[in-house]
């Protein structure tokens, strides 16, 4: 038996390269986490959660208005995007012919690959220009455009998994199709649908580009939906590119909060998805 063989060597070299590739992919992830934790934890304090940003030059301050703004934007975007995504998916599964469903599914996939800054420009053309001003509404519209294809696709996958026997049982009892869809089909797919919603919210909560010229950002509290509104990702952007140490500190703290929020959402989505598969 040959102990040394070119083929075996080649195999080992390639295996080693795969391992190296994986390490190279994971190193930046580790570094990013390390820095967010290190810089974020040393910068975060109570002020961060209750104060608004201080003017340039003054130390301290927080991102309270950004957090509230992000919450408002997400809520409004969900209000627009969720019904469209979920009921659109109901159409694809319950009514749509295979061809038209395929076209819409394809369009949703393509739409989710469009750069998010484009949705901001579209929202600008649709709302900011006619209303002559940046507003929370325009920001939410831009975010909802990102949300719809994600929610539609995940909801559709979940509805497809509901067994037809359930629908037939309901219809046989004389329940109209629309009530069957809402009360039987959607309800039995609820966990999966919620997973999709959480993932969509996680995705939009960190979006910055579509908000740059729709929600614009706000140094202060805003109390109208037709006014510019602050958002955490926007504040992180502004603070990160500023030359001030103290603002960098705020940006890191903001990053920590945002990442925690998003991983919380992703993990709960993952958890919901998993318990569904097991049952």
């Amino acid at each position: 038996m040959k102990i040394f063989s070119f083929r075996k060597l080649n195999n080992s070299v390639m295996t080693l390269s795969m391992v190296m590739a994986t390490i190279l992919v994971l190193v930046p992830l580790g570094l990013i986490f390390f820095h967010i934790m290190k810089m974020g934890l040393s910068s975060i304090n109570l002020d961060f959660f209750v104060q608004i940003p201080k003017p340039t030059g003054e130390t301290g301050g927080g991102m309270a208005n950004g957090m509230a703004g992000t919450f408002v934007l997400i809520a409004l975007a969900s209000l627009i995007g969720l019904p469209v995504g979920i009921l659109g998916a109901v159409y694809l599964v319950e009514y749509g012919g295979t061809r038209i469903s395929a076209v819409i599914r394809f369009a949703a996939d393509v739409l989710s690959g469009i750069p998010s800054i484009i949705t901001g420009m579209v929202a600008y053309a649709m709302l900011v220009e006619p209303m002559k001003g940046f507003s929370a509404l325009a920001g939410s519209l831009a975010l909802s455009l990102i949300m719809v294809p994600i929610v539609l696709r995940t909801t559709e996958e979940q509805l497809k998994m509901v067994p037809d026997t359930l629908r037939e049982a309901s219809l046989a009892l004389g329940v109209p199709l629309w009530r069957t869809s809402l009360k039987v089909t959607l309800r039995s797919a609820m966990k999966g649908v919620v997973t999709g919603i959480l993932l969509a919210i996680a995705r939009i909560s960190g979006e910055t580009a579509p908000l740059l010229f729709t929600a614009l950002g706000n140094q202060f509290w805003s109390n109208k939906l037709t006014e510019p509104i602050a958002a955490m990702p926007l504040q992180i952007f502004t603070f990160a590119i500023s030359p001030y140490e103290d603002w960098h500190r705020l940006a890191w703290a903001g990053a920590l909060v945002l990442v925690t929020l998003m991983f919380g959402l992703s993990l709960s989505a993952r958890y919901l998805g998993r318990t569904k598969q097991q049952s």
Partner: protein
């Protein structure tokens, strides 16, 4: 329902009940996806008309971008977008495919699952946080160590000339690479998982080593799927805005050197669109957006068509 014995009455009731309305609403929402796409194309083309009329083809061939003189041409931005994306893709593809192979074939199942989950976490981090890390951690590191090293040892090449700024094309390429690795990896993983077991066993039975099995049985089988994943990664890289804007230096110049600052299409939109000085300025930015939209549409359609067969086999969650 007892009324069902009377067909006529049943028909009227059927017309009036919620089914009709419900179906109408769901149709409306489902088709809104197509409407959104068309609306995007319409709004963007409509808004960029003034710039298209004024500049014509010189918009994509010239390099003068001057809001004061109302001269707009976008070549430096096109150049920056294309170069940064292609280079990032060239770095990310081998890493991603390697990681996907590691997850599916080399690592023990549990550990592979852990790596896959970590890579997905990487995809969940918002762009602006990559940018924050890029500008405050990576760019200073590049400026202090990597760039001086490149200048000293490879400075005779046109790609590594100039002063070490930190924020540069190189920084954008690195940050883009980190950002598109997750998407290429996770789709390639799905593609590799869809390779039939019998194919792999056939290769092993013929005496192939593990790498030979991967090279001869798995990669050719998943070729179109992997290509789709790579193209999808390209689409992501071209449209990536925040992180690139924060690390590329935002200087509209066409320079071979990777160490000098550059500018991309999404970055100029991000930086200037909220504060345009004239209608024409806004329109020129819209035209850049339109180009971006057209490019990413083509890329995404292409990628999805390539992935179509694979997604149908594995259940569609790609």
């Amino acid at each position: 329902m007892p009324q069902d014995t009377q067909p006529h009455k049943w028909k009227i009731e059927n017309g009036l009940n919620g089914d009709f309305i419900f179906k109408g609403v769901t149709i409306l929402f489902a088709f809104s996806i197509l409407a959104i796409l068309l609306l995007m194309l319409y709004e963007m083309s409509h808004e960029s008309l003034p710039a298209i009329r004024k500049f014509g083809w010189s918009f994509v061939s010239g390099s003068e971008w001057d809001a004061v003189q109302s001269e707009f041409a976008a070549l430096p931005y096109l150049y920056g977008s294309v170069v940064s994306s292609i280079l990032a893709l060239a770095l990310a593809t081998p890493l991603s495919v390697g990681t996907a192979i590691f997850i599916t074939e080399i690592a023990p199942k549990k550990f592979g699952g852990l790596v896959a989950a970590l890579v997905e976490l990487l995809a969940a981090i918002p762009s602006v946080i990559y940018g924050l890390w890029g500008i405050l951690v990576m760019a200073p590191w590049l400026q202090k160590t990597v760039q001086p090293f490149l200048i000293e040892h490879l400075g005779f090449l046109p790609f590594f000339q100039g002063a070490p700024y930190g924020v540069s094309m190189l920084a954008a390429v690195f940050i883009l690479m980190i950002m598109i690795v997750p998407i290429i990896t996770s789709i390639t993983k799905e593609v590799l998982l869809a390779v039939p077991q019998s194919q792999k066993e056939a290769a092993i039975a013929l005496g192939a080593t593990r790498w030979e099995m991967i090279r001869t049985a798995m990669l050719p089988y998943g070729r179109s799927g992997i290509l789709g994943a790579v193209i999808l990664g390209l689409g992501r890289a071209i449209g990536e805005t925040m992180a690139v804007t924060m690390v590329i230096g935002n200087n509209p110049q066409i320079s071979l050197s990777l160490l000098s600052p550059a500018y991309t299409m999404p970055s100029v939109i991000a930086n200037e669109f909220a504060e345009t000085t004239s209608k024409l300025h806004a329109s020129a930015l819209m035209e850049i957006g339109l180009i971006l939209l057209a490019v990413t549409l083509v890329i995404n359609v292409l990628a999805r068509l390539l992935l179509w067969g694979v997604t149908r086999q594995s259940g569609g969650n790609v």
